[in-house]
Structure formats: structure tokens, C-alpha cells
């Protein structure tokens, strides 16, 4: 004579399954959001491809991001910089995306790019130091040269910063005041 626990649980089975489905749904929803709707990889005002620029045409990073080794910020290229090349290239006005650029330029308006790599204001990060230390852009930004749409690959959160500082034995790398001043 055996008493089955499963039998006793039978009435609770359906609600439990429902809850389970909600939980699974939550994870799926969050993943889908992260993949397709998040700030990790937002849809930009112009479908700019780093693959075309950095790989196909072998333009080095700092040709456009000219401040990376000089100032705290790498610098998004000015509209004038984009047009500097595109004005001179044959047939560029035929592409839909480049026409958008031309429109911005003719209206003398900046392109409202959406920030992908952003640190809170209380973090004192400077590109200059990292570039001077010989760190490749890709170590933090991932293989940008293969991205058709820019995607954040690192968390850009404090543990990630500190891990790298620790691994590389950065002087004062774990000192609070190095980044928070």
C-alpha cells in the first residue's frame, strides 16, 4: 500500500505550471529585449556600418575618433568629418543611408546618435590613459570592425573595470579615488 505524494500534489500541478510558464516567459522576454530592443544595440538614426569603414576600407579607429589618445572622450566624428570623405566619393549620394547624412549636413544639424557605451557621471574615465597604456580599442569595445550595428559587449560596470585593473596590476588600480573623485 503506497501513498503517492504526486497524487496529493495533483490539484497544485496546474497553478505551479502556470507560474513556471510565467517565469520562463520572463526570462525569454528579458533575453529578447536585451537582444533586440536594449541600449546594448540600439537602432541608430543612420544605419552606419563599422564593417564597411573599418574592415572593407581599412580605416583605423583614430582616423575618426580623433580625441581618443588626447582627451577623456574618444569623440564622435563631426558631421563635417563624415562629409569630408563622402563629398569626394563617387556615387555616394545614391545610397539611402548616406543621403540621410547629406540631409543632416545640408541642414547643418548634428546626427543624434544614441549612446551605446556610457558611464555614470560619478565615474572619471579617460580614454587618453587607456590608449596611452597600449590597450586596444577592441578589449573594451569588442570587435567593432565586424559590427554592422554597434553593440556593447562588456557590462561597463564596476566589477568589470576592477577585474581588468587587478589582472593588469594597474598602479592604484583598486583605489576608489582613481575613478571616483
Amino acid at each position: 500500500m503506497s501513498i503517492s505524494v504526486l497524487e496529493a500534489l495533483q490539484p497544485a500541478k496546474k497553478p505551479a505550471m502556470l507560474v513556471l510558464m510565467v517565469v520562463v516567459g520572463l526570462f525569454v522576454g528579458a533575453w529578447v529585449h536585451g537582444q533586440y530592443f536594449s541600449d546594448r544595440s540600439p537602432i541608430q538614426p543612420i544605419e552606419f556600418s563599422h564593417t564597411i569603414h573599418a574592415t572593407d576600407n581599412s580605416i583605423p579607429c583614430q582616423h575618426c575618433h580623433i580625441y581618443a589618445d588626447k582627451t577623456p572622450v574618444a569623440g564622435v566624428p563631426s558631421v563635417a568629418k563624415c562629409m569630408g570623405c563622402h563629398n569626394a566619393l563617387p556615387g555616394v549620394r545614391e545610397s539611402k543611408e548616406i543621403l540621410k547624412l547629406v540631409t543632416y549636413w545640408e541642414n547643418r544639424e548634428p546626427i543624434p546618435w544614441i549612446k551605446v557605451h556610457d558611464l555614470p557621471d560619478y565615474v572619471h574615465f579617460t580614454h587618453k590613459r587607456h590608449v596611452k597604456a597600449g590597450i586596444e580599442c577592441q578589449e573594451c569595445h569588442g570587435p567593432v570592425e565586424t559590427m554592422d550595428r554597434i553593440t556593447r559587449v562588456a557590462t561597463m560596470r564596476m566589477p568589470w573595470c576592477v577585474d581588468c585593473h587587478t589582472e593588469n596590476n594597474v598602479e592604484h588600480g583598486r583605489d576608489c579615488l582613481t575613478c571616483h573623485k
Partner: protein, 749 residues
């Protein structure tokens, strides 16, 4: 495995769907706010994002001429500090200087030229183009010039120094008009006039507070508003703590305790209007006690005969003991200095008061001595016009001229006479009679409201200019004012507007005033100065000098003193000693109180009231924020049954205002003090309709000799209206509530 019914399956799918939507919403919720990365369209040449550049220029928030340095990032001004190498400010600023950013980024700035299309003063302005605006002004003025009526064109400016002053003067000269004037409520005209009488030079000398041992101030709030507050604050610090083992003493004589009074060792609330008498009483005690040993001792005795301490004591309400003791301390200290300003230099006998104070300086022999009165050398600029500052009397004349239709075109630059003159003077009314009023202004103030045409001017942070600070620092100094950021809006610096007007008017104007811009003009003038000082009379090194001067923001010649170092003779001082007691408007029986309007460390004469940082800055003495108030002595208030916040009706022979009462212990009974600066009818969202303007009830009495407004010579009556208002202040209660924070005392309050 049991089969799942179709019904259950749908429920599970539904649950999964709800979960998925929840997951997406969660993801949306935790992600950071989308920020944009806005590139420059065309980057400026010296642009590096994230890196601050500091540019040196000159502050224009008052007329002290402090050198400032402005932090620029991404082409925007972020912070103002003092220029460390500038001898006036030495790396420091005051609150008004800091608030310069509020002027630059003020939402109420005038952005385009405007024309009045309604009745004068109705404020119906429509935007027009610069071309149209300049043509309107230019054609009008050139027609008047051709008709030989150039004198009907008047230029009224705020206090302007440096080569902009010369540009204005040249413009009016070439036009053929003799009517270029400046009006600034804070201009120390009485002090300058007194110095001409006493010392033979009409100037503001360098009052060397820094090296003094004993400072006796007659009403001059040198730490808050008098002449050059930032420089004086530095000097005060040195007087107190800058010399090992030596602490200078300061005594402040004023009916209402100012910031300087609160910082003094001794505060003497003499009867208002008798400060000069007190000075003569002290002088009498110095000479009488044999503390002055000059050969002209007898002449001094005779001149001061009528001012024995006992007589003066009765008139000033300061005890004879104090007068004699101050006289002793004043003459015993090695470097004693007496200064006068504020209300003491704004009575009907203001010049006589300052002359009396000058006499004290003479008697202790501090003229041209460290810690004394050091005469400034000539201005660093050799081509400056003489002072065009209009006295109150001259402003009344201007009002008459406008009323009688003599004025066809009135150009008003950066001054607000409608606010800074009492209402009963009728400046506003008179402006209606002028055919064309052109306001050159950054902000829409009460005077601009009456204009027919508004030409928006850039702020000092966007303009070229230069300045020779007045008072100087004892040696020649000149500062360059340079734009620290690109111009905002469709406004133009006033110098460039004048040059454009000259081109528009034509004739010999654009020939003589050939500069294409203010920058070119300033550089040209500096080149001339450079050449005149260069040993070889050449300008080959000028470019490098100019770059260095621009970078430093200032040029000076420490040690070069080309003024006459000799001490002026006493004869003129003795001869000019006159009875310095002020008369008052209103008799004492009807008007029981003396009105003590005072310039505030925040708004000065009201020009700072449109800057939000200054509006929210508590008054340093009373801690009141926003609005106006009338200070009354607690005893007086008690007798009258007035409590804090009671709205008072304050009536003078010239008018009345309503203002809430503030009980303030550091004011003499029988005096009611009201801060100047609030009470604007226009002047932007932060200033408009806030508080009252005490200048409006000042009676039209003038200093006997200069014709300057005697704004501290009005009596008032005070009456509670029965209404109340909550005064906003940051200080809690002024009593110690038994906390013994003032030391072990038997304070039971």
C-alpha cells in the same frame, strides 16, 4: 505523462506570454535612460572634448574691474573664478562675479533686434532684422546731422571704461553731439569730488587697507559693495591675519550694520548724516591733544575749533569718551586709514563729509604711505576721455530736455535710469516725448520697455573690450576683455554695434572709425600704447606682447609710479573744511524715521536681480532670501507693536511703499533700512514683481557741491497696515535659546 487539455495549453501559453511581456518591460525598466551622442556639425579649431580651457577676461558685474578666468568645455562657459595674476582680484571673485554665467545663459536675454509697434511703454515688440534696425537708426541720425541738429542725439550709457568709452566719445564727437553721458547709481562721484578739493586730484586713490593697522570706515561697506569689494576683502584678510603677531583693528561707523560692520572690532551707530561731524570731532581731538605736530598746527586748531568732542558728541550721539579714544587709537597706530562711502557719502553734505575724512588721513600723515592713501598713477591708457558721469542734477536736466522735445534720438546703453532714479523724477514719462529711443541692452528692463527700438547687446563674456581699473592698485594696470565663448543668439557686442552705426550714418564717421570690429579697434589702440612705451618706438614685438597680454588677461607695471609722490599741502584741506552735517527731506515731527537704503552684496543697485543664483543667495546680514524687507530696531518695533512680517506703509515726502518688517538688532533706533535692488516691474522672470524699490521714495535732495543724489537724506514715517507676510529666511531665530553659543553669559533670552 498526462495529456494536457487544449484549454490548459492555451492557459500555459497565455501565462508564458504574460511572462514574456513582463520580461521585456523589466529589461526596459532596468536599462539606462537613452542618452544621445551629439557630434559637432563643424568643430571649432581648438576644440578638444572633455578638456577644459581657461580664458582670462574682465568681470563686468560691478565697476571694480576684477580679472576673471572662465572655464570653457566643449565651447561652453562652465565656471568663473578670479584671475590669479590680476592685481585687483588675485584669483578671487565675489558672488556677483560667479553669477556672471547666469547673465550669459539667462533665458530672458533679448535674442533679436525688436521694434515697438504699439504705444510707448506698452511693450508690443516685434522682431526685425539687424539691417532694418540699423537703417532706421542710421538714417534718422544722419538726417539730424545734416539738418545741423546733431545735439538732439544723446547717448546715455552705464559706467563704461577703457576704449569702449573712447569709442562712444569719438562717435558722439564725430556726430557733432555734445551729449554723451554715463549714469551709474553706484558711481562714487562725491568721493572723487572731495579728493579733488582735498588733494587737488580728482581720482579714487588706492586705499591701502592691506597694510593698515587701524581702519576707520565712515559708512563704507568695503567688504560688500564699496569700490572694489573683492580686493578689499583680500586686503582685510591681510590686515587681520597676514602679519605674524599683528592684528589690525577696524572700526565701522554706520547706522545699520553692514557686512563690514559685522567684521569690525567696533561698530558705532552714529546719528545718520553726522558722520562727517564725527570725523571732525576726532580730528579736533587729535590736534587738541597734541597728537599732530605739523607746523600748520595752529591753522588746524582754528579750523576745527567748532568741533570739540563735547559739541560733536551731542550732535552725533557718540559719547565723548569714544571720540577721544578713537582719536588716540587713530593717531597712535603706525598706519591708520580712514575711508568714507555708502550712506555717509550720500547726504546733502556728502563732499564735506569725505573732505573731513580726508583731513583725518592728512593729520596722521598716511598720504602716499604704506597702509594709507596712495595716489594712483595716470590711467594705463593715454587717450581716455574725461569722466562723462552724469550727476543727479544732470539727469534732471536730461529729463527737462526730453520733456521739452530737445531730444530726438536717445541711445541708452546698459543702464536703467527708470529703475535707478526715483519715480518722481519722471524719466519714464519724459522718454515718451523722445521721437526715437534706442535701447542697447542685453536684458529687457524698465528702460528697455520704453524703447522704440531694441538692439540686443552681447554680454561681457562674449565681447572684446579692455579696462583700466578704477581705483587702481597704485601702479598702471590694464586688462583685456576677450570673448570666452562664441556669441549666443542674434545679439552683437555694443562696440561692434557702434561701429556698424558709424558705417550706416556715413560721412566722416566711417573714415575716422575705420575699424571693422571691436577686436581690431582694441588691438589697434593697444598697439599705439605699446609703441608709445617701447624704447625704440617700434611695434615689431607687438604681436608676441599682444598674445602674452591676452593669455594673462592683464598687463601691469608694478613699481612704476608716475604720480607725484609728494604730499599735498594742508592749506586746501583746511580751507575746504565745511560743516558736514546732512539736511534731510521731511521734518522730524512728521517723519520720525531716517530712511537708510543700502546697496546689497547680491544685487548692488538692482542690476543683479535677474540672476537666479543671486536671488536665492541669502542676504549676508539678515539671511533673507527673495523679496524686500524693512529693518527696524527691536526696541523701536516693540514700542510700535510691530512684529516680523507685518507689512509696513513707509511714507516719505516723495512717495510711499509697502514692505514687510524685519526685526534686526544691529540697527540704530529711529532708522529704517531697506535694501536696494528688488522691485523691478520688468527685467525678466527672476526679477519681475518681486519686492519694492526704495529709490522710489527717496526725496530729490542733492549733494551741495556735486549735484549727486543724496539718497540717504530722506525721512519717512512708518505705519503698520495690519497685513502680514511670511519673510523667507534661512536663519532660524536670532536668540540663543539658552544654548550659550556666545560664551558663558547670563543671556536669558
Amino acid at each position: 505523462m498526462s495529456k494536457i487539455s487544449r484549454r490548459d495549453l492555451l492557459q500555459y501559453i497565455g501565462a508564458g506570454g504574460i511572462g514574456a511581456v513582463g520580461g521585456v518591460l523589466y529589461g526596459e525598466g532596468v536599462q539606462r535612460k537613452v542618452e544621445l551622442l551629439i557630434p559637432q556639425v563643424i568643430p571649432p579649431e581648438d576644440y578638444s572634448p572633455g578638456v577644459a580651457t581657461w580664458y582670462n577676461t574682465v568681470c563686468n558685474q560691478c565697476s571694480a574691474g576684477c580679472g576673471i578666468t572662465v572655464r570653457i568645455r566643449e565651447g561652453k562657459a562652465k565656471k568663473i573664478e578670479g584671475n590669479p595674476v590680476h592685481p585687483i582680484s588675485q584669483g578671487r571673485t565675489c558672488a556677483r562675479g560667479q553669477a556672471g554665467l547666469n547673465a550669459l545663459y539667462n533665458p530672458d536675454r533679448i535674442r533679436t533686434p525688436m521694434q515697438n509697434v504699439g504705444q510707448t511703454g506698452a511693450g508690443r515688440f516685434v522682431e526685425i532684422s539687424w539691417d532694418e534696425a540699423l537703417t532706421t537708426v542710421g538714417s534718422r541720425i544722419s538726417r539730424l546731422k545734416i539738418e545741423g541738429k546733431a545735439n538732439s542725439v544723446r547717448l546715455l550709457s552705464g559706467q563704461v571704461r577703457g576704449h569702449l568709452d573712447e569709442l562712444f566719445a569719438q562717435f558722439m564727437d564725430l556726430l557733432g553731439s555734445e551729449h554723451y553721458q554715463q549714469y551709474d547709481f553706484t558711481y562714487p562721484g562725491t568721493i572723487r569730488a572731495a579728493n579733488r578739493i582735498s588733494f587737488g586730484v580728482e581720482q579714487l586713490p588706492y586705499y591701502d587697507i592691506k597694510n593698515a593697522d587701524f581702519l576707520l570706515s565712515f559708512g563704507a561697506d568695503y567688504l560688500g559693495t564699496w569700490l572694489s569689494p573683492v580686493h578689499h576683502s583680500l586686503a582685510y584678510g591681510h590686515l587681520r591675519q597676514g602679519r605674524a603677531g599683528q592684528r589690525g583693528k577696524t572700526v565701522q561707523i554706520e547706522p545699520r550694520m553692514s557686512l563690514s560692520g559685522a567684521s569690525a572690532d567696533e561698530w558705532i551707530p552714529a546719528r545718520p548724516g553726522t558722520e562727517g561731524l564725527l570725523a571732525l570731532g576726532i580730528a579736533n581731538a587729535i590736534v587738541g591733544a597734541g597728537r599732530y605736530l605739523g607746523s600748520d598746527r595752529d591753522q588746524w586748531s582754528v579750523a576745527l575749533e567748532a568741533y570739540s568732542p563735547s559739541v560733536v558728541s551731542g550732535k552725533t550721539d557718540v559719547s565723548e569718551d569714544i571720540i577721544v579714544r578713537i582719536a588716540k587709537e587713530f593717531s597712535d597706530n603706525k598706519s591708520s586709514l580712514a575711508i568714507a562711502g555708502g550712506a555717509a557719502a550720500a547726504g546733502t553734505n556728502a563732499v564735506a563729509t569725505v573732505v573731513a575724512v580726508n583731513a583725518l588721513n592728512y593729520l596722521v600723515g598716511n598720504l602716499n604711505q604704506p597702509g594709507g592713501v596712495i595716489f594712483n598713477s595716470n590711467s594705463a591708457f593715454s587717450t581716455m576721455p574725461s569722466s562723462n558721469q552724469a550727476s543727479f542734477q544732470e539727469m534732471l536736466d536730461l529729463v527737462d530736455a526730453m520733456e521739452s522735445g530737445e531730444v530726438e534720438v536717445l541711445l541708452v546703453n546698459d543702464t536703467n535710469p527708470v529703475f535707478a532714479l526715483p519715480d518722481h523724477v519722471g524719466f519714464r514719462r519724459a522718454m515718451e516725448k523722445v521721437a526715437l529711443v534706442v535701447a542697447l541692452s542685453t536684458f529687457h528692463d524698465e528702460t528697455t520697455q520704453m524703447a522704440d527700438l531694441i538692439l540686443p547687446t552681447s554680454t561681457y563674456l562674449e565681447s572684446w573690450g579692455d579696462d583700466a581699473p578704477d581705483p587702481g592698485v597704485g601702479f598702471p594696470v590694464a586688462s583685456i576683455s576677450q570673448p570666452v565663448i562664441a556669441k549666443l543668439y542674434d545679439a552683437i557686442p555694443v562696440g561692434d554695434i557702434v561701429l556698424s552705426m558709424a558705417r550706416q550714418i556715413g560721412g566722416e564717421l566711417p573714415v575716422s572709425m575705420h575699424w571693422s570690429s571691436m577686436e581690431e579697434f582694441i588691438k589697434d589702440r593697444w598697439r599705439e600704447e605699446y609703441v608709445s612705451r617701447a624704447s625704440d618706438g617700434e611695434d615689431q614685438d607687438f604681436e608676441s606682447f599682444w598674445r602674452a597680454a591676452l593669455e594673462a588677461g592683464v598687463w601691469g607695471q608694478p613699481g612704476a609710479i608716475d604720480s607725484d609722490p609728494s604730499v599735498p599741502s594742508s592749506a586746501s584741506i583746511i580751507a575746504s573744511i565745511a560743516d558736514p552735517e546732512s539736511k534731510f527731506a521731511g521734518n522730524e515731527s512728521d517723519y520720525a524715521f531716517v530712511l537708510h537704503p543700502y546697496l546689497t552684496a547680491t544685487f548692488l543697485d538692482g542690476r543683479g536681480a535677474n540672476l537666479p543664483w543671486l536671488q536665492e543667495m541669502p542676504d549676508p546680514m539678515t539671511s533673507v532670501v527673495y523679496g524686500s524687507w524693512a529693518e527696524l530696531n527691536p526696541v523701536t518695533a516693540d514700542e510700535m507693536g510691530i512684529r516680523e512680517g507685518d507689512i509696513l506703509d513707509i511714507e516719505s515726502p516723495a512717495g510711499s511703499i509697502r514692505v514687510p518688517a524685519l526685526i534686526f538688532p544691529a540697527i540704530r533706533p529711529g532708522v529704517v533700512a531697506i535694501p536696494i535692488g528688488q522691485g523691478h516691474a520688468e527685467y525678466g522672470r527672476y526679477a519681475k514683481d518681486r519686492g519694492v524699490n526704495p529709490i522710489n521714495i527717496v526725496a530729490p535732495l542733492m549733494d551741495d557741491q556735486t549735484g549727486d543724489l543724496a539718497w540717504a537724506a530722506t525721512r519717512v514715517k512708518v505705519k503698520a497696515t495690519g497685513e502680514r507676510l511670511h519673510i523667507i529666511k534661512t536663519g532660524g531665530v536670532s536668540r540663543t535659546l539658552g544654548r550659550q553659543i556666545l560664551g558663558p553669559s547670563n543671556d536669558h533670552s
